[in-house]
């Protein structure tokens, strides 16, 4: 989650004070991504250092700084919106590793391991769904944030279900090597001499 770009987006609507930025950020991400005020100010300082935002005194209220986006900041925001997130290589998935490790540990009940993770993920999904159910029907930003988490979590459950089915299938015998070819690994990537 890029806090700096979210702040640039909020500033693209007009100049704002830091406290208001924090409130609007939390409101629009539906309380799912809480942000503390310290995070807001360190991020704003960095953005100012890099020339993406500038400050003025606003209405001079108690010496608070008011932030506005610069043309460089607007350009950075536009470029960021269009840049695909990093999806490859995939992050090393802890759950996948746990299941792979479980297969190696003698006496482990893999069904029980998969079910423990399934239950845990669904309990988290229930919490996001309750947030969505409790929100006002017109609260689209909250629904979008909750949906993103729900779809991500649902993918984990589907992977667990698929793992379950795969592990229940009887192991198929390795295909017999063609006649005259050794079954030993031979380093087939060797280039011809």
């Amino acid at each position: 989650m890029s806090v700096s770009h979210a702040l640039l987006a909020l500033l693209s609507e007009g100049p704002k004070y830091g406290q208001r930025l924090q409130n609007e950020f939390e409101m629009r991400t539906g309380e799912v991504w809480p942000l503390n005020v310290g995070q807001v100010y360190t991020t704003l300082q960095r953005l100012e250092r890099d020339g993406l935002v500038e400050t003025d005194d606003g209405d001079g209220d108690r010496g608070r700084k008011r932030y506005r986006i610069t043309p460089v900041g607007a350009g950075e925001l536009a470029a960021w919106l269009r840049t695909p997130p990093e999806l490859v290589p995939p992050p090393r998935d802890e759950l996948v590793i746990k299941v792979l490790v479980a297969l190696q540990v003698p006496g482990t009940d893999i069904d029980e391991i998969l079910q423990a993770h399934r239950r845990h993920v669904i309990e988290i999904m229930q919490r996001y769904t309750r947030i969505k159910a409790g929100a006002a029907e017109g609260d689209v930003p909250l629904a979008l944030v909750a949906d993103a988490e729900l779809f991500r979590l649902e993918a984990i459950v589907r992977w667990l279900d698929a793992a379950d089915i795969r592990l229940k299938q009887p192991p198929t015998a390795a295909p017999a090597p063609p006649a005259g070819v050794s079954a030993e690994p031979t380093g087939t990537m060797e280039v011809s001499r």
Binding site: R118, R119, E123, T129, I131, L150
Partner: protein, 241 residues
């Protein structure tokens, strides 16, 4: 809390000898009034059998089914049919509306079959449709309704009258995700309104609408989520540095 549905050590065996299949084995399940429970599991785990037994459409091989005050096992065939008509509403994936009847007639049908006078049945049906924001579609026929609207009519039919138990089999299977969500909101609202709801599904997204998720595998209840957790722990002080 009062139980609206109780299955006690319910087993169901189909066939005999070498072809014998244990569809359900010693299932205990209790659903309270005001609670929505999802029964989740892969195909063939016994979900649909559980629902048909809970709905008195099928009898268990052994065990006890109690709906409200009624022990289903001691009721006559007619008694079971009456209990089903008066107390249980069904929602299916493919809506199961009668094509020759309008929306309001579809909703009124279970009441009319139960002897309620047509005028009173239609009034109750219309009221149920109004509650689901379907008043404008009351006189339309099923082929004039979208999937989402059809399922709303089916839900109205399932909750009309004095139903205590709402049973749904993959109720959003034929709908897109937004309409599916609307249907789950309605089922959840109906349950919290004083009906006990059971949804069987293989879909985690759908199951997450339930207050409690029960996991069924090979005919057995193997696990369940914690019942209706308290205040939102997700929103508790989670602010990370």
């Amino acid at each position: 809390m009062t139980s609206a549905l109780e299955l006690r050590r319910v087993s169901k065996i189909y066939g005999s000898g070498p072809t014998k299949v244990h569809a359900l084995a010693d299932v205990d399940l209790s659903v309270d009034v005001g609670e929505l429970v999802a029964v989740m599991g892969p195909s063939g785990c016994g979900k649909s059998t559980l629902l048909t037994i809970a709905g008195t459409l099928e009898e268990p091989t052994s065990g006890k089914v109690v709906i409200g005050e009624h022990d289903v096992g001691v009721l006559s065939r007619d008694g079971r049919a009456r209990l089903r008509r008066q107390s249980i509403g069904f929602v299916f994936q493919d809506f199961n509306l009668i094509p020759a009847l309008s929306a309001v007639e579809n909703v009124a049908l279970p009441l009319e079959l139960d002897g309620v006078r047509i005028k009173a049945a239609r009034a109750a049906a219309l009221e149920a449709l109004v509650r689901l924001d379907m008043a404008a579609q009351a006189d339309r026929f099923p082929d004039e309704l979208s999937g989402g609207e059809s399922q709303r009519v089916a839900i109205a039919r399932a909750v009309v009258g004095e139903r205590q138990l709402l049973l749904a089999d993959e109720p959003t299977g034929a709908l897109d995700s937004v309409n599916g969500e609307a249907v789950m909101r309605l089922l959840r609202a109906a349950s919290h309104d004083g009906v006990a709801g059971v949804v069987v599904t293989h879909d985690a997204h759908l199951a997450s609408w339930a207050d409690r998720v029960v996991f069924l595998r090979d005919g057995r209840v193997v696990d369940q989520t914690a019942p209706r957790p308290g205040p939102e722990s997700l929103l508790a002080p989670t602010a990370k540095p």
